[in-house]
């Protein structure tokens, strides 16, 4: 073997050894338990109860659901969310009305009722649990909407 090849091989070995020394800090979602051991049960988290509307973190964010939606069902026959949030019902229910952006289909035609692609509210709007973020982050909203 010539010299440059020996150096390349040595360098690669060193890199692998160095990377291996960092491997102890990497954990899977199971935690640091061995495969044969039973993992420690995580603490049960609860949905947040009814509260005031939650401020948005970025302008296009679908607003979070600030109340319990346990057993609220959306199926082809009826949409439980709309029984309070539709334009016909929101005033009596004291709820936020569904945005007019939800009346447009994918070709920007405005429809006479909620568009099919916006019908399943839970695809974008979610309630919150009282727990830590999955990944630590330093995200901040822009100053204009803080």
């Amino acid at each position: 073997m010539n010299r440059s090849r020996i150096f390349a091989l040595a360098g690669a070995t060193l890199l692998i050894l160095a990377a291996g020394s960092f491997a102890q800090d990497v954990e899977s979602l199971r935690g640091a338990t061995e495969l044969v051991d039973a993992p420690r049960l995580p603490t049960l988290k609860r949905w947040e109860p009814d509260q005031q509307p939650i401020a948005r973190d970025f302008v296009q964010q679908p607003p979070l659901v600030p109340h319990s939606i346990d057993s609220y069902s959306i199926d082809l026959r009826s949409n439980k969310c709309l029984t309070c949030h539709s334009w016909a019902n929101y005033q009596e229910a004291g709820a936020t009305k569904i945005s007019q952006t939800h009346f447009a289909d994918s070709e920007a035609n405005v429809l006479a009722n909620v568009a099919p692609r916006r019908y399943f509210c839970n695809q974008c709007h979610v309630p919150q649990m009282d727990t830590d973020p999955l990944v630590e982050n330093t995200f901040e909203p822009v100053k204009a909407i803080q």
Partner: protein, 208 residues
């Protein structure tokens, strides 16, 4: 042609029933009749209560696969305290006279089961709104009597209810509403509400 030589079977039965016995005393007849009456009454009520169980209700297939499956996703089936409400708790009144009246109406349901009116999912979906409105109507007329078998408004602890519930209950009852006015869909899937609430449906973009 009737010969009338010996009395007919009906006349003979009537004569047996109305002529006094020569063997048994009044006391014997009365007490035996009393005991048999108790047994009959108990047996009758036991049979009626057998038809007031969840097992009986879901023995009809159209109930088991449609409304029972929907009910399993709801709070009356599975909740924090494990206190359940099964089919008869909501659909059969507890007072005896209302209960018997409901059982008489139930013969119509028996007929429809035998006639196969709801024997397929498609047939059930077609009838869903009509069935739901019939139940809602009887609940409105009875001021949600079956709900009040367990839920007593005067015993509600508003401190433990959520924000929307407190407002809903106080305002609702002040307006004279009954439980079923707001809590439709609490146990079974809501029917297509086009006729009742046209805003809660999907728009049509004109394509097919």
């Amino acid at each position: 042609m009737n010969q009338k030589n010996s009395p007919g079977i009906l006349k003979r039965c009537w004569q047996i029933l109305r002529s006094p016995t020569s063997r048994f005393s009044l006391g014997t007849l009365s007490s035996v009749g009393f005991i048999v009456g108790i047994m009959f009454w108990g047996g009758f009520n036991w049979a009626v209560e057998l038809s007031n169980t969840e097992t009986f209700c879901i023995s009809c297939h159209e109930m088991e696969v449609n409304v029972y499956e929907e009910y399993k996703d709801t709070v009356h089936y599975n909740n924090r305290t494990g206190v359940r409400a099964t089919c008869p708790d909501c659909h059969v009144p507890q007072e005896w006279h209302y209960k018997i009246m409901r059982k008489v109406v139930a013969t119509g349901e028996l007929f429809h089961h035998l006639a196969g009116s709801l024997s397929t999912p498609e047939k059930f979906e077609e009838k869903r709104l009509e069935l739901a409105q019939s139940v809602w109507r009887s609940m409105e007329r009875s001021d949600s009597r079956e709900c009040r078998n367990c839920h007593d408004y005067d015993s509600m602890d508003f401190f433990n209810q959520q924000r929307r519930a407190v407002a809903g209950h106080i305002d609702g009852f002040d307006e004279g509403k009954t439980c079923i006015d707001c809590h439709k869909g609490i146990a079974h899937s809501l029917p297509a509400m086009y006729e009742v609430d046209p805003s809660a449906v999907v728009g049509n973009s004109g394509h097919n």
